[in-house]
């Protein structure tokens, strides 16, 4: 069991010893409650004896002692959620020790305790809103990290994957206007975890608890505004037999489909290039003999043809060849692959009278779908608990992980900084040799340079670069924690926690002399003089190294008081916490580096040196060495307590005050007080309530405040030193924040009303919760008059109201050997900007994709807003908009002066209604489980053509809507894509891109995952307890969608890759 657990249950037993009864007239019944399956002690079993008022409870080790008045016979009932109730009649006439064996209920519906990171509360006494995922459900998913395993199995959490990231969580709507601030707080065991979440081994996880409302989360105070996710790891148990568990799994991840997004054809792109060439768009670049700007092979051919160097036929043949090419073919064949993830883990745990031990180890190896990228992780973990004296417990744990990453994929291959790669580029020839593509300079210029000699090869071959890249990161994370717990009295314990975290990480990027980066840099600085070649950047490689280190220490002192007597029980904690985190690091670069001999060479960082052929003005050599550091400190004092009467009525209160070393804030303002109150009524326990249909029924409600810390804003002017200025070489500083004295902390008030119910035999059980979350004083970036010196400012400017309902329904049915269980999760969240203090300067700033917050009163925080669409002009194919209700084609004016009535407010860009439906069927060790996720009531904007990006000298291949464009009168009946015009008009493109016709409903249903497992040897063959084989498939795709374009509304770019896993798990 966890050390941090509040001993609500300890008190009861020992009280009796104080001698309320005369020793003569009593009999002592003591013993232990154990689980029938694994013989593990069962804590928290309530023991009631007929005609005796008092209710007894087993302690955390399952021990109990009853001192009973002498009777001929006792009728006793033992209850524990998760186990079948046990009724026994006992005849005892002397002190007796017994072992009570409890049979686990078939349908385990509810974890008994919820862990807030400060205490464990029996769920039946909790007033707040918690969601718990136990180990079994958590491990139903297979994956490398902890967070993405939670997708689709918890209500209230929406995974927002629009940016392509799999781990971005939105909990109960939007309570902050900044995306970074919108993330929940993650707590690992007892303390906030600020290291790399990917360093945690998911096989070490015992349970994950989500704290949703004020009463649950206010204990985490100013950081809890967006919910708290408490990850509890496995620990050993006292007096438990040794157990060994071994896991292995492999996952295959589909190669990304580069053809998913429609794209205009290469041939069309070449036509456009020809058109632009004829318009003279490249004339200046062709005439430029100073910088030698790169031109695509097609433009070079056209120019050669103009100059009469090649014939019409040659031109046509060569262009026809290019028309057949598609860059995606080589990319797909040589730069992407099928990903393979492997995961192995081992754990050993057990415990004796006075100690518990858990040791675990894990190894992960992920071969990414991006060629060149690779990830490995090693986890080691040891957790011990010692009962030093009956009053004193000591726990210690060391968790260590090592991470190795290789990031050699080239990313987006660009032609130059401003221009994407042309779509007919070829990277590999038929013999598998790398081909050169145009990069920073014209090919004809490079030919000329080759003839002159003296320079290194200056061509760019992406396929070679892929193999030359040498970019690795190495990191580790050490977490040492210890905890001392002392029982002053049966009902009073004191605890001290300490945690030390050390996370060093190293980055190493080596550009060998063969890489384009190094060759280009050496060449640019090369001076060819009469007496030879001078190379200010020496031959050899360039090595960039970065190093950073996080060291954090946390300390907590806490006093727990729990007392149960007659009809009353009290549980209270008071404590304080200090946390100090320091991060430091530096970056360095070595020139002329030889990887074998570790030799380097010096360069002149000081003087401006001429650039080869005056391709650019004299420059200094890049100096990238720098150092950085920072310190975070938090101090908190907190307290909470609950009082329960007759197990029916519970009242809870909590208060907390936080302070941190926020910069630029007066000390008084660094403290932020937060509180909550709550109540629960266990109707099921009432005497007047006798329902055979719904025996379990509980209502609970809470109200309170939590907050959001904003580190990025300050009340006084703050400066940040950046380095040395480019020309003057003076140290310089930048204003980070203008003085903003009126800034306040963000505050979130949450009201929660919940109903827990269970039908007879748990055929149907679950909970329904209603909440209202009002976030006030939200800081947002507000457009301001640039005359003040700032175009935008962070100001407390908005109030957001979230209302929502979370529903969880669990159902269980058993038919012979077949066991079916179904879980339906439904979350409803409606967030609206209740108030926004500032008038927008232009209504056109609201239109867009809804990927960032647009504060519009009465609309969702992430809302999709469009220009009203007036169709295409039948004469010209120009898009038509509305300005003050009148049709217009003046797109600039539209952008400036569009009114609210000329806009269409579609609705939320985040699903307002979502959830999952999970079905599991088990039959004789075979289990099949499928999770279907659904999301509705939201909108997304699909991508479309942007002529301004296409029709320029830096043009790049554009969206496939090009084929749908208006070309002749009459087309307006079939298409909404405007005609192509030249010169382009960015505002016209912007108008169409943000018009209502490019918005689609996001509603869809997808198969989240399928799990197929078979448990061999269910009854075990010593020493084996069981073996379980699993097949698991994830991201299987959309099965129904509202949009007609076959797009996955959850992602802006490529859908998450499908993956298939097989796993094996053996327990001894």
């Amino acid at each position: 069991m966890r050390q941090g657990k509040l001993l609500v249950l300890v008190g009861a037993i020992f009280l009796v010893l104080k001698g309320a009864f005369a020793q003569q007239g009593v009999v002592r019944l003591s013993g232990k409650a154990v689980d029938e399956i694994d013989r593990a002690p069962v804590p928290g079993v309530t023991i009631s004896v007929k005609d005796i008022q008092r209710i007894y409870t087993t302690d955390k080790d399952g021990m109990f002692e009853l001192v009973l008045p002498r009777r001929p016979e006792y009728q006793m009932t033992m209850r524990r959620i998760g186990f079948d109730p046990l009724h026994v009649n006992m005849k005892i006439d002397k002190d007796t020790v017994v072992t009570i064996t409890l049979k686990p209920a078939d349908n385990v519906l509810e974890e008994v305790t919820v862990n807030t990171g400060y205490q464990s509360i029996p769920k039946e006494r909790a007033t707040g809103s918690f969601e718990v995922v136990n180990a079994e459900l958590f491990n139903r998913q297979i994956g490398t990290d902890v967070i993405s395993r939670l997708d689709g199995i918890m209500p209230s959490i929406l995974f927002d994957k629009r940016t392509g990231a799999e781990q971005r969580m939105v909990i109960r709507g939007v309570s902050s206007l900044s995306a970074i601030q919108g993330a929940p707080l993650i707590v690992l065991d007892n303390f906030p975890f600020e290291g790399d979440i990917n360093s945690i081994n998911p096989n070490d996880v015992e349970s994950v608890t989500l704290l949703k409302d004020a009463a649950a989360a206010s204990i985490w105070g100013a950081k809890a505004g967006n919910g708290v996710l408490v990850i509890t790891t496995k620990k050993g148990k006292y007096k438990a037999p040794w157990q060994v568990s071994v896991h292995a799994n492999s996952t295959i991840q589909e190669k990304p489909d580069l053809y998913y997004m429609p794209r205009m054809s290469t041939s069309d792109f070449i036509d456009i290039e020809q058109f632009l060439y004829e318009q003279g768009a490249f004339t200046s670049m062709l005439a430029n003999t100073t910088n030698r700007p790169p031109l695509t092979p097609v433009i070079e051919l056209l120019d050669e043809h103009t100059r009469g160097e090649i014939s019409e036929t040659t031109l046509k043949n060569k262009l026809d060849y290019f028309r057949e090419q598609d860059i995606r073919k080589d990319l797909s064949n040589h730069f992407y692959r099928t990903g393979i993830n492997q995961q192995y883990s081992f754990s050993l745990n057990g415990g004796g009278e006075n100690y518990t031990t858990l040791f675990s180890a894990g190894y992960d190896h992920n071969r990414s779908t991006l060629v060149g990228n690779d990830f490995r992780r090693i986890n080691l973990n040891i957790q011990n608990t010692f009962r030093l004296t009956p009053r004193l417990d000591l726990s210690t744990g060391i968790r260590y992980s090592m991470l190795f990453g290789t990031n050699n994929h080239l990313g987006n291959i660009q032609m130059s900084a401003a221009k994407g790669m042309y779509p007919y580029a070829e990277f590999v020839d038929e013999y598998g040799q790398a081909l050169a593509v145009t990069k920073d300079y014209r090919n004809s210029y490079l030919d000329e340079v080759d003839e002159r000699g003296g320079l290194l090869d200056w061509r760019y071959r992406p396929y070679d670069e892929l193999h030359l890249a040498d970019n690795t990161t190495t990191g580790s994370n050490l977490l040492f924690s210890t905890n001392l717990k002392y029982r002053f009295l049966a009902d009073l314990t004191g605890e001290v926690y300490y945690q030390y975290e050390h996370e060093p990480s190293f980055g190493r990027q080596f550009y060998s002399e063969d890489t384009y980066y190094t060759r280009d840099l050496i060449n640019r600085f090369t001076q060819v003089a009469d007496n030879g070649i001078i190379r200010p950047i020496p031959l050899g490689g360039i090595l960039d190294r970065s190093q950073s280190e996080l060291k954090a220490q946390s300390f907590r002192g806490q006093i727990n008081y729990t007392k149960d007597w007659a009809n009353h029980s009290i549980a209270a904690i008071i404590g304080m916490e200090i946390r100090h985190a320091r991060n430091e690091g530096n970056n360095t670069r070595l020139y002329g580096y030889d990887d074998d001999l570790q030799t380097t060479n010096r360069v002149d960082y000081v003087n401006r040196l001429p650039i080869y052929d005056n391709l650019a003005g004299a420059s200094t050599i890049i100096f990238s060495d720098r150092a950085f550091g920072g310190t975070q400190r938090f101090v908190s004092a907190y307290s909470n307590g609950s009082y329960t009467y007759k197990k029916k009525y519970t009242l809870s209160v909590s208060a907390r005050k936080d302070a941190s070393n926020l910069f630029g804030v007066a000390t008084n303002d660094k403290w932020s007080p937060l509180w909550s109150v709550g109540g629960a009524w266990n109707i099921g326990e009432e005497e007047f309530y006798h329902s055979n249909l719904i025996p379990r029924l509980k209502v609970r409600t809470t109200y309170g405040y939590s907050g959001n810390v904003r580190n990025d804003v300050a009340a006084v002017t703050t400066l940040q030193y950046y380095g040395t200025s480019r020309l003057g070489r003076y140290p310089y500083a930048v204003v980070m924040n203008p003085p903003n004295a009126e800034l306040r902390w963000e505050k979130i008030g949450t009201f929660n009303l919940g109903l827990d119910f269970g039908f007879v035999n748990n055929v149907l059980a679950g909970s329904i919760e209603f909440y209202r979350k009002t976030a006030t004083d939200l800081v947002s970036l507000v457009e301001t008059d640039p005359t003040t010196g700032f175009g935008s400012l962070s100001m407390n400017s908005a109030i957001i109201k979230n209302t929502g309902v979370d529903l969880t329904l669990n159902s269980n049915t058993k038919l012979g050997n077949t066991h079916w269980s179904g879980t339906l999760l439904m979350s409803l969240n409606r967030n609206r900007i209740e108030k926004y203090m500032l008038e927008p300067t232009r209504f056109s700033q609201w239109v867009g994709t809804g990927s960032s917050v647009s504060p519009i009163e009465g609309e969702p925080a992430y809302s999709v807003v469009s220009y009203r669409w007036g169709g295409l002009d039948p004469e010209t194919g120009d898009p038509i908009g509305y300005l003050e209700g009148v049709e217009t084609k003046d797109y600039s004016l539209l952008n400036q002066q569009v009114t609210k009535n000329d806009l269409v407010f579609h609705g939320s860009a985040l699903p307002e209604f979502f959830g999952a439906f999970r079905n599991t069927i088990e039959w004789k060790g075979v289990s099949v489980s499928m999770n279907i996720a659904y999301r509705t009531n939201y909108y997304f904007r699909r991508q479309t053509i942007n002529y301004s990006n296409l029709l320029t000298a830096n043009g790049q291949v554009e969206h496939g809507d090009f084929n749908e464009r208006w070309q002749q009168p009459g087309d307006e009946r079939y298409t909404t894509v405007p005609s192509m015009i030249y010169p382009t008009n960015t505002r016209r493109d912007e108008f169409y891109r943000n018009a209502e016709v490019t918005v689609e409903r996001g509603d869809h249903i997808r198969i989240q995952d399928i799990n197929l497992s078979y448990t061999f040897l269910r009854n075990g063959i010593k020493p084996l307890r069981n073996i379980r084989a699993t097949f698991y498939a994830r991201n299987l795709g959309v099965i129904w969608r509202a949009n007609k374009h076959n797009l996955d509304p959850d992602v802006a770019q490529l859908p998450l890759p499908k993956s298939w896993s097989i796993g094996l798990n053996a327990n001894f």
Binding site: N661, T718, L719, V734, P738, P786
Partner: protein, 450 residues
């Protein structure tokens, strides 16, 4: 137990009280509040703000260059509209960057008097104060040439001045001052800068007294006060009047001039707007090209012939061929001095100053000092030399056009030829740019005349 609770509560209480020091540690080591002289100096050394992004609108509208139709087509819409002096041309970046700079100056001016000295001296404090005044005055000067109607000594005041932001408080209301107030503020700031700054500086990214005096000379020239302009020019040249000799310059190079060459008094560069002035796009005005004598070294140092027989400009004092120099240079001060002298009737002296400049611009062995003809001729000659010397120098030609248009002898109709023909006649309202629409919308300030 009671004792324990007491201890606990005390320790909690203690934390509340005593943690103030504990919490005063900086969250990021590189952060600071500007409370000492050194920090304020570091702020003024932020070159992106103080030496770059000077306004470009006037130079986009200027007549020393032109764009081909194809290149004009491929510029962004704001640059295209400004090029043809469209009535609704928007140049919000010029406004935004200038006021960002003014805000930074105000941060320094608000703090400088109370800032801790640290390892610096009171003399340093004065210099930093002087720099802030210089940058503020200089920024308002540049803005006034774009967004405020032409103003000269003795002209009637109007309400279309600039909003004068003189403190760093962002909540201060933004209202337009009168034109007279705007100019008074510029003069006041630059005069204070001239009092506080040292005569010379090591690196001309930092302003010197010579720069402040030069700025005042430029301003009074525009205002038509030739006596004061002459006074300040002479004061500035008294500090340093050594010209760069183009005979020493590698004129065949694509980048003939080094950054911080001898001519540079104060280094600044103009905002690059959609590549308009880039060598790849801008052609030098063909009439202007013809004005260079074959022995004039500027012809080869500044101009580069294209295949088509047109010319590109390669003479930026920035030491590269992207950004246009937009600072103050000694050659400009010579031209101001010469013009003022000529306008004040001291022709002989004016010619002498001009000849001193030209002797460093012509081939050494071919230079023959110019002889005086009539007064009118001399002024024309000086103004022509001004054009030949100061083309592609940010912030000069547009204000020259505005002031010379006041005099019928030098007034000029500007013409742009694309598919259509566009004209800008002297005194047109479009010589004053519109304030950015977004600024008008937020602040409610009155827009310029149209």
């Amino acid at each position: 137990m009671k004792n324990l609770l007491l201890v606990m509560s005390f320790s909690v209480l203690y934390t509340f009280v005593a943690c103030s020091d504990y919490l005063d540690v900086k969250p990021d080591d590189s952060l600071t509040v500007p409370d000492n002289v050194q920090d304020l100096q570091a702020l003024l050394d932020y070159e992106n703000v103080f030496n770059m992004q000077y306004p470009a609108a006037g130079d986009i509208g200027a007549d020393y260059y032109f764009l081909s139709k194809a290149d004009w087509d491929s510029r962004d819409i704001d640059a295209r509209m400004t090029y043809i002096w469209d009535i609704n041309a928007q140049n919000h970046l010029d406004w935004n960057y200038s006021f960002q700079r003014i805000f930074h100056c105000n941060v320094v001016l608000d703090e400088i008097d109370k800032a801790k000295l640290g390892s610096m001296t009171e003399a340093d404090r004065d210099i930093i104060k002087g720099r802030a005044y210089f940058y503020r005055g200089w920024s308002y000067f540049q803005l006034a040439q774009l967004y405020v109607p032409y103003y000269a000594k003795g002209m009637a005041d109007s309400e279309y001045g600039l909003p004068l932001q003189l403190v760093s408080d962002i909540n201060e209301p933004v209202v337009r001052s009168t034109v007279h107030e705007t100019y008074s503020r510029i003069i006041d700031d630059l005069e204070r800068a001239a009092e506080l700054l040292p005569d010379r500086v090591g690196v001309p990214t930092r302003p010197s007294r010579a720069a402040a005096l030069g700025a005042l000379a430029k301003l009074y020239l525009i205002m038509g006060d030739f006596e004061l302009s002459l006074y300040y020019t002479e004061n500035s040249l008294d500090i340093n009047d050594v010209l760069l000799d183009y005979n020493d310059v590698d004129r065949d190079s694509d980048i003939p001039f080094k950054v911080f060459n001898k001519d540079v008094v104060f280094h600044a560069v103009m905002l690059a707007r959609s590549g308009v002035h880039e060598q790849g796009y801008a052609f030098v005005d063909t009439v202007l090209v013809k004005k260079y004598n074959e022995y004039d070294l500027r012809k080869t140092a500044f101009l580069k012939a294209d295949d088509t027989g047109l010319f590109r400009f390669k003479g930026s004092y920035d030491g590269g061929n992207y950004a246009l120099f937009s600072g103050i240079a000694i050659d400009e001060l010579y031209l101001i001095k010469s013009e003022c002298l000529a306008r004040l009737g001291r022709e002989q002296k004016a010619l002498e100053v001009l000849n001193r400049l030209l002797s460093k611009r012509w081939q050494k062995d071919r230079f023959v000092p110019m002889q005086l003809a009539s007064n009118d001729d001399l002024l024309t000659i000086i103004l022509e030399e001004r054009e030949k010397q100061l083309l592609f120098r940010g912030g000069i030609r547009w204000s020259d056009l505005r002031r010379l248009n006041q005099d019928p002898r030098f007034a000029k109709i500007l013409v742009r030829k694309l598919d259509d023909r566009y004209e800008l006649i002297p005194g047109d309202d479009r010589y004053t740019f519109m304030l950015p629409f977004s600024v008008i919308q937020i602040s409610g300030m009155p827009q310029n005349h149209r």
